[in-house]
């Protein structure tokens, strides 16, 4: 009899979701879906507010990556004011974005994903977390926590607080950076660099340990989308969009991010609050694409900083030269290469005297009735698109969130892992954990992408063809 297995809530991700696995009469996996069951409504209730308020409002979308929303929203504001921001402000915003990458990427690896890798998928779920990891390897865990703290500290120095700072504004930033703060960060830097390198070395060893799992961990063809710099380098704040296919061909390049809507559409399904963005020329669902670290590392020609560039070259060798790195498991490696890049780049910025400038904010009236901001959030490209009236009051808001853009890919990953690891009708905990781990590759942030609150629960249901729940596991 056909059955349905439900994993709810999915744990150690940011937000609420469940996974359902549909089995046919033979007990084989027919379909698997990643359902996001939270709803936020930011796009709607921001209507009627002022464009100047949007960075502060939208940074409240998320407690993990508020700085990404803040910067992207401020950029949309710059576009509406139609002004260039002071050079110091841009460099400081860049530093904030990198700090966001450092803290979020460190959180994803050390706190959320590494327990699976270092303790094993079969480890006791009660211990398979950051606390279990602390018991297992105190020094490693402590370094990871401190690395995240470094990112948070930069955010606090710049914005006055670690979470939900309103510091970036349309026209620049509110406060300059001080020499004392810079010196404290430079003093901390050697430790941070060492931990970033340790993380990269650790994930490479993990690749050897999980040789059995990796081939079926979201290994499929899709497009890759992200921003690249003027010379095709890895970009995080500015640049233009590049779209690459699974064989490494650039199918669209140099796309002004302000025209994102010409290239990407959003489909909806009745079983999830998370939309399904797709690449318009290929339609839905063929236009499946991935964003985030794996995409960024695939599409860029090079990385500006030496240690990260060295790792990028090794990353590229994970796939034949005729292919992009298509396996979603390598999101982790790509993420840690980006972490290393962010750490190196922050040091470079800290040595740049311009960051100590005091002119950091330009002011202007409403000069355009429409504005788009785009930046690379830790999980992928983030777009904020606002329409205002001549007084700066928002008439319409559209936000295209990184996690949403990975929605189709996450569903594909869940289906692949379920098909590969599910044997018959017995739900085993390690099996379920592998499916969750598939989701964690993408480090999804569901609070952001649905524009909910609380922790991530995991709930798996086994449902027959008539919709009756035959077995259910919750935790």
């Amino acid at each position: 009899m056909p059955e349905l297995i439900t994993i709810a809530p999915v744990t150690r991700i940011e937000g609420h979701a469940k996974i359902t696995i549909h089995l046919n009469a033979k007990g084989e996996v027919e379909d698997a879906r990643f359902h996001v069951n939270e709803f936020r409504g930011f796009e709607k209730f921001c209507e009627g507010r002022l464009v100047w308020e949007m960075p502060g409002l939208t940074s409240r979308i998320c407690g993990i990556c508020p700085a990404s929303h803040l910067v992207t929203s401020a950029k949309a504001g710059d576009d509406i004011l139609a002004i260039g921001i002071p050079e110091t402000a841009e460099k400081l915003r860049r530093m904030l974005t990198l700090a966001q990458w450092i803290q979020s990427h460190a959180l994803s690896f050390f706190h959320l994903s590494s327990p699976d890798f270092l303790l094993g998928f079969e480890a006791d779920p009660a211990l398979r977390n950051i606390f279990g990891l602390l018991q297992h390897n105190k020094e490693f865990t402590r370094k990871g926590i401190r690395l995240r703290k470094f990112g948070q500290q930069i955010i606090e120095f710049l914005g006055g607080r670690r979470i939900h700072t309103p510091w970036a504004v349309a026209g620049g930033v509110r406060e300059p950076f001080t020499k004392e703060e810079r010196d404290k960060l430079l003093e901390w830097y050697p430790e941070v660099r060492e931990t970033a390198l340790l993380a990269v070395e650790t994930i490479k060893k993990i690749h050897d340990t999980f040789k059995k799992e990796i081939p079926a961990f979201g290994n499929f063809h899709s497009l890759f989308v992200g921003l690249v710099g003027p010379k095709g380098e890895l970009e995080y704040y500015g640049g233009n969009l590049r779209i690459m296919d699974s064989t490494g061909n650039i199918i669209a390049d140099n796309i002004d991010p302000r025209k994102y809507y010409e290239h990407f559409g959003e489909a909806s399904e009745s079983w999830s609050y998370l939309k399904f963005p797709y690449y318009k020329p290929l339609g839905y669902p063929k236009g499946i694409y991935r964003v985030g670290p794996l995409a960024r590392l695939n599409i860029c020609n090079r990385i500006e900083t030496p240690l990260a560039e060295q790792e990028r070259k090794l990353f590229k060798k994970l796939a034949p030269t005729t292919e992009s790195v298509n396996n979603s498991f390598y999101y982790h490696y790509a993420r840690l290469i980006e972490l290393l890049f962010a750490v190196e780049k922050v040091e470079e910025l800290l040595h740049d005297p311009i960051i100590l400038g005091t002119h950091v904010r330009s002011k202007a009236e409403i000069n355009r009735l429409e504005g788009v901001g785009a930046a690379e959030a830790p999980r992928g490209t983030l777009f904020h698109h606002y329409w205002v009236d001549e007084n700066g009051v928002l008439k319409k808001v559209n936000m295209l969130i990184a996690t949403a853009q990975n929605n189709m890919a996450m569903n594909r990953t869940v289906r692949q892992i379920a098909t590969h690891f599910l044997d018959g009708r017995k739900i085993t905990e390690p099996m379920l954990n592998r499916i969750e781990a598939g989701i964690r590759c993408f480090d999804p942030c569901l609070s952001c992408s649905t524009h909910a609150a609380g922790q991530m629960p995991l709930h798996v249901q086994m449902v027959d063809a008539d919709g009756y729940i035959l077995d259910e596991v919750r935790r």
Binding site: L50, W52, E53, G56, L57, H164, K363
Partner: protein, 243 residues
């Protein structure tokens, strides 16, 4: 002028005839919360935060509008009064759309400060989430009715100090709203001199400068005392807030 003697919270004070209870309390640094009251503007007794108990009188009286009488025995901080003050702030919070975390006046807001002062830790009343409008038509300032507590300071300062009388209150009961002109868009009123006095006396983030972001709107009220002193005494002395 006759001198009146009275008792406030067990201590005896003397006051001049015609003075209000609030004036005497402020003279002697006896704390009491106020919201609609602002030194330099007329008194309306609208917010009822400064209500006190006077022995022999069954109802509560606002300290800002009640004149001292000989032999009055006044209590200003009983449990009942404290409870009522918390209720007033809770009702103000529930009937508007006050979201401190993203408000331009966060950390510089009198309503927020009063909530701390009266010990408001939760609002038991259901939030009404009223659909209120925002007027950004003025070149320099914005009016957000979501954050207005109808203290009418803007109405009074514009009428009594600036002399323009741009502001008024329209509607009845819970539907009352502040309006500019004859309910025209603020940017379209011919009477507004763009002096900004209304913005500076507004206790919340209802009136603010265009372009400010979260927690950036600090209100400087020293100008009011400066103008009043200059007019009444022909002395031009600057005052910073609270002095």
């Amino acid at each position: 002028m006759a001198i009146k003697t009275l008792t406030i919270d067990g201590d005896q004070y003397s006051a001049q005839e015609g003075e209000t209870i609030l004036t005497v309390m402020r003279q002697h640094n006896i704390p009491i919360p106020t919201l609609c009251h602002l030194e330099g503007l007329s008194t309306v007794g609208a917010c009822r935060l400064c209500v006190v108990q006077v022995e022999g009188i069954p109802k509560l009286l606002p300290a800002c509008t009640t004149r001292v009488e000989e032999g009055m025995v006044i209590h200003t901080a009983t449990d009942k009064l404290k409870k009522y003050r918390r209720m007033i702030i809770a009702l103000l919070a529930s009937e508007g759309n006050h979201v401190c975390a993203v408000c331009v006046a966060n950390n510089h807001c009198e309503l927020q400060e009063l909530a701390y002062q009266v010990g408001l830790v939760r609002v038991r009343y259901p939030y009404l989430f009223p659909k209120k409008s925002l007027d950004a038509t003025h070149k320099e300032y914005v009016m957000d009715r979501n954050r207005c507590v109808l203290c009418t300071r803007c109405v009074r300062v514009c009428d009594e100090v600036e002399g323009a009388h741009v502001w008024d209150v329209a509607g009845r009961g819970i539907n009352c709203e502040i309006v500019t002109g004859l309910d025209d868009a603020w940017g379209k009123t011919e009477t507004c001199t763009s002096c900004g006095k209304c913005v500076m006396v507004c206790p919340t983030g209802a009136l603010f400068e265009k372009g400010v972001t979260v927690a950036e709107m600090e209100k400087q009220k020293g100008f009011l005392k400066y103008i009043i002193t200059a007019r009444q005494k022909k002395e031009w002395v600057s005052f910073t807030d609270g002095q």
